[in-house]
Symmetry: C2
Subunit: 417 residues, 2 copies
């Protein structure tokens, strides 16, 4: 039987991971620098491959916003190269000793950070993810098998070819970086079952992509992304801060996972300030869907459905829910939230402490916009995604999230009695 493309490339990646595991930080950084140079030098090749993707997209009637995400230009390619250079500057977590134990029987035990091995990344259109994911995985000593969206296949193939030429001049084996070219969904499904070859799969994309991965993978998954985030304006919220934070959370960049989908408002605050706040949302072209009480204050709003409250719009649409107590706000978040980012705006420290204690989410805010849930904003320097699961990593994932650990035990003949 012939090996499939997926199995063949994962097998090569696994063999390369063993070599990669032996490299020191300097060798890995050198390779990243060569990759950055190659991207800049070969930008014409990449841009012309990108034109193929754009042309095919136009023929297939792809909407302009998606074409824009797909489009490359010299600035965007330079930004990819700069991204790699930023990763070079980050501390290498591999080899860090996290625990050291001396046992009474004379055994010396330590726990050291090691690469995960081979990481599978499944993502959608944007070609910059190709470079970003490659850089983060290789820096942490992991081989990587990429499976990008078929709409960017020409760009991705060309980017990988350029990066492979750079790796050929480095200590990192070329095989450590693989891209699956098969555009069929079956190649994704095959990746999800590659236990023994892939150590983890990380999906990056919309809800249906992530759901498919979570439901079908036998390989361990780090779930990322989907964010139905709430901002709760408490009775004692400062009105200016409340409007600044809630407008920022909704409109500064509505298309991302840490933007707000639902504004929860205490009835006392709503009675005094919701009408004027709604005008500000209206000026920003935000459509409002709300509960019955909301409609009494904002006549131009429409009635929100249960489904609306669980929808990640990623758009200029906002749900508004008026509550009588903070407990109702907590219950609403527990029911509709995706455990991503949640915020309370209040001047009451006890209410803030209660909210932060009770809300079960990766990031819980007091008096700041949920838009800060981001590896760069947290000071990690880069991120492979935002984990919305509770195991292994939660919230923005920096380099340590791409590592495992190993116990090393040193003895002089100890046996167990």
């Amino acid at each position: 039987m012939n090996k499939s493309e997926v199995r063949e490339k994962a097998t090569l990646a696994k063999a390369a991971a063993t070599v990669l595991n032996r490299l020191d930080t300097h060798q890995k950084n050198e390779a990243l620098q060569l990759m950055a140079q190659a991207l800049r030098q070969e930008q014409e090749l990449i841009l012309s491959a990108n034109l193929e993707d754009l042309e095919r997209g136009r023929q297939q009637g792809t909407v302009p916003s998606l074409l824009d995400r797909l489009a490359l230009n010299p600035e965007r390619i330079n930004a990819m190269a700069e991204g790699l250079e930023q990763i070079i500057d980050l501390p290498d977590p591999i080899g860090d000793v996290l625990e050291a134990l001396d046992r009474p029987n004379g055994l010396t035990i330590d726990k050291v950070r090691v690469p995960l091995g081979v990481i599978g990344i499944i993502y959608e259109a944007r070609p910059n993810v190709t470079v970003d994911a490659a850089g983060l995985c290789l820096k942490t000593g992991n081989a990587v098998v990429l499976r990008g969206g078929s709409s960017a296949i020409s760009s991705n193939r060309q980017i990988i070819e350029v990066l492979h030429r750079a790796l050929a001049l480095s200590a990192i084996p070329v095989d450590a970086l693989q891209i699956i070219e098969d555009p069929n969904r079956a190649s994704v499904d095959e990746m999800l079952k590659l236990k023994g070859l892939l150590d983890v799969v990380i999906p990056r994309g919309g809800r249906s992509l992530i759901q498919n991965v979570v439901e079908n993978a036998t390989v361990p998954v780090i779930e990322t992304g989907a964010g139905v985030c709430h901002t709760y304006l408490d009775a004692s919220a400062d009105p200016t801060m409340a409007s600044d934070i809630s407008l920022n959370a909704k409109v500064q960049r509505p298309s991302v996972c840490n933007s707000m989908e639902t504004l929860i408002v205490h009835q006392d605050f709503a009675a005094r300030h919701l009408a004027s706040l709604a005008e500000q949302f209206k000026e920003s072209n935000v459509e409002i869907r709300g509960c019955e009480e909301t409609l009494a204050i904002i006549p131009w709003a429409t009635l929100a459905t249960e489904e609306d409250y669980s929808t990640e719009y990623n758009d200029y649409i906002l749900n508004v829910q008026i509550v009588n107590t903070i407990q109702e706000a907590l219950d609403h978040i527990a029911q509709h939230g995706t455990q991503h980012s949640e915020c309370i705006v209040t001047e009451d420290k006890d209410q803030a402490a209660l909210f932060i204690q009770e809300v079960d989410a990766a990031a819980v805010y007091h008096n700041a916009s949920t838009r800060f849930t981001d590896g760069f904003e947290f000071g990690f320097g880069a991120e492979i995604g935002i984990s919305t699961q509770k195991l292994h990593a939660r919230g923005p994932m920096g380099l340590p999230s791409l590592t495992s650990t190993k116990y090393r035990i040193y003895g002089n003949g100890q046996i167990r009695r």
Copy 2:
């Protein structure tokens, strides 16, 4: 539609987890102490329920070794209570601050340990796991849904009844501790799909139980257990240490996951010492299966198959493989190992360093028995199992493995530009 037992109990557990999350260490420890007292006071009830299980087992022709694992007596019940008291003495990881970041924009961020939420444990016969798992989960603020083997159902049901009476006197809600009584495999399968109700499933048991969980779960899994562990006797191994360690790894307790299944021997060591070492194994009633070279030195050994080299015997059977180089030993381990515990016996520090660097396993030993891979032996005071996966936790899992984290972000009106 009526809710199934599994869904109903998981729903109750989830609601209880919210309450449990608010309790302090003192309240949780008090509950554990009441549980320990109740076990001692009600031991007659538990013993008579256990007799039912034993009687049913005998009628069904259960083998004596399994009946022994199932059997309780006053000493074993007291040991369960002592286990709970040991958990009381362990530090509570919940609330520990793992990182603290002050950002240039004035945001204060910290990362705090929180409970996972609701933990599902799927295990086989031994009733002591029921108490142990309950204690570890509750101490870390998690609700727990237990699904034990059907052969111990009477004992487990009675134990839970006793523990529930103790919890009723404590701050921990009774609903935080659930046991699934449905003996059908369908109840396990249902647990594996309870995304949104269970935060993690931990299987404890043999290979087929674990395989079923890993292959069918959509809930995140922490894989535990299966151990095909190797001991490699290098050319320069001290002969006495080599025999002490390899005999201990095989025969001190062959039925457990950290015992040795395959002895790999460098040809130089084999030529000088393997014959006498084999005699020692023979005296311990260990059957040997080996490669062709092994048979030339140990005539009474039988030829090992490829399958033998990948089998966790948990029995007095040992594979022996003679190699020409350490690289052959590393390749054999990479091919047949389960990334659990691996050991090199050598007097050569460079070979030891190479082995420890190259072997991809939870625990890698130099000159000590693999039998030490155990939460108690590592000084954790207790363990919920030994993780053989690379995500979240690897190796013996102490209390911190039963936690997640949450980022708390404190601002004074920060918005993203």
